[in-house]
Symmetry: C2
Subunit: 203 residues, 2 copies
Amino acid sequence: MKLYDSGRAPNPRRVKIFLAEKGLSIPTEQVDMMAGAHRTPEYTAINPLQRMPALVLDDGTVITESVAICRYLEALHPQPPLFGTGALETALVEMWNRRCEINFLLVVANVFRHLHPAAKTLEVPQVPAWGEANKPRVLDFLRIFDDQLGKHRFAAGDTFSIADITALVAADFMKPARIEMPAEFANVRRWYAEVSARPSAGA
Amino acid sequence: MKLYDSGRAPNPRRVKIFLAEKGLSIPTEQVDMMAGAHRTPEYTAINPLQRMPALVLDDGTVITESVAICRYLEALHPQPPLFGTGALETALVEMWNRRCEINFLLVVANVFRHLHPAAKTLEVPQVPAWGEANKPRVLDFLRIFDDQLGKHRFAAGDTFSIADITALVAADFMKPARIEMPAEFANVRRWYAEVSARPSAGA
């Protein structure tokens, strides 16, 4: 098994935090996205969508999409469960993971990719007006997330899950996207301090 | 159990096709998104993100996000399996479902939401340059999807799955988004005719 990884890029990092939470280690190969290495014929043969990360199994089968890779690893190594257990908890973890992806990580990524000069080779064409339109949406989500974290210790409830991994990566990605975390979101700040202090956050 | 539904909107439709494939029926309540009914205090109390659909259980628990709802229904009614069976097939279904969401449905939705006059109350502000930037990405994905469908009968392999539901909804959404399906994608056209002919496609 080999993981195609790319430094501190958000999606590969989700898989690396997931692996650390499981106590697993997989050989990695670095693909330098800022240098366009994900668009070479070699990497395109692995993932025609030219997205990172990718997991290649020993028989050559390729699994892409961070959450698909994590779900595969969860099936092989169920402990500790990071996708929930039972029908309802599993659904609520999926719900919050998707909320954190679509309304937080993707939104922060849109701000970075469409406004940061360093992203101009990643996002072609950059549409600055779209980057600007996403900025208030980060705060819209944080308001809802703060309410959830006022009721629960973690993103999807009282157990750490993949939704916390997605949200942590999104929160950390606010820095390169140049978005400040407002002081008013006290529950988000309490949660962020806690999940950032886990050893897995170093991944 | 009650499903908050919205006519032919793509995401609620994914859940309705899923229900039809399972042979299930759930009471629905219509929320008219074009009239802004998903932004009322009543619906915001159900889903603070003001997105459709939502499933409300008999004890009042709310599950949002189409795929989270479908996964909950799959746990309750495993037959026929629409998320795959076994670790690898499940991962490949998730991979293709996400590819069809992120690189097809979301991209077509961006074209519709940022360019269609009827969407101007749904997407505020509309950013036409972002709509235009998404148009060629539909074709980029269809090229990859056509290759997959040249090797397999369905989106994620040789069994119908939730990935086909997502892709069917995206393909149908090309019409209001005013994107033509190019004749060159013969495998996509063969697949589209087959999945459109299933009774569930009427949902």
